[in-house]
Symmetry: C2
Subunit: 161 residues, 2 copies
Amino acid sequence: MIRIVAQSLTAASFAPFGDVLEAAGEPDRIINAGLCGRWHDQATLDFGPDGRVGISVFLSEPRALPYTLDLLERHPDGSQAFIPMHGQDWLVIAAPDNAGKPGKPQAFLASGRQGVNFHRGTWHGVLTPLAEPGLFTVVDRIGDTPNLEEYRLDPPYAVMA
Amino acid sequence: MIRIVAQSLTAASFAPFGDVLEAAGEPDRIINAGLCGRWHDQATLDFGPDGRVGISVFLSEPRALPYTLDLLERHPDGSQAFIPMHGQDWLVIAAPDNAGKPGKPQAFLASGRQGVNFHRGTWHGVLTPLAEPGLFTVVDRIGDTPNLEEYRLDPPYAVMA
């Protein structure tokens, strides 16, 4: 299998695919009498003309590294944010689009203090926590369309840290 | 000080104030080839006619119990969801409205696997994590209005577990 080595998740490295949700650098605002920092409005959200935003909770089986990556998906009608609720490292996978198919995937090792928001239509892997409990809050589109394209990778990739 | 004893956070007890975001009971859908459960569309979101949704990150100083509660606030123009990213117990405080002022506050002990969404205009306490890091993702209204009313409680309440 072709190997993919996960790099650290940063706003710059992830920019082609979406937003990193994190308390990095100085807060945009200090609130609550100085006791709380707010890093404001970090995600480019897009739910299309016929969708609305919703908050859901996902509980996913943890995966081990190396991870066999054989499936990518994308949501053509809306952005999708994954917010870890477990405080532990997790794996993020995304790929550029190449004429309607995913190009070579990239892997990112996210800390438990980092969420991501995939921009609308971005190829990405399914949720891949690396430890129990694989609990995430998800902010994505609620609507009547299937809003899902899947692409099977043959041969698969081996993702490692 | 008047004492308030925090009760366990449940969807039923919190219903007058908002939604509990959690993986409780059976998932609404199983996705990702059986490896992930989705508890779907758990929050009543309302950002008003002139607002839009945003995702922000808050980092708040942890508080100790008993907690001296001397301030409540509400956001008249939008709902506000707090999603813990730390996996640890935290404190949720809310109060009914009584002719434009908060009535007697109620306190809830939330687990690290529970977020909440305060319905638009609901009186609530500021973020009160009980351990480091007090890191939360917040889904609330982005707009041009102040969207904040504060009410100082004199005398304050003492909140305990």
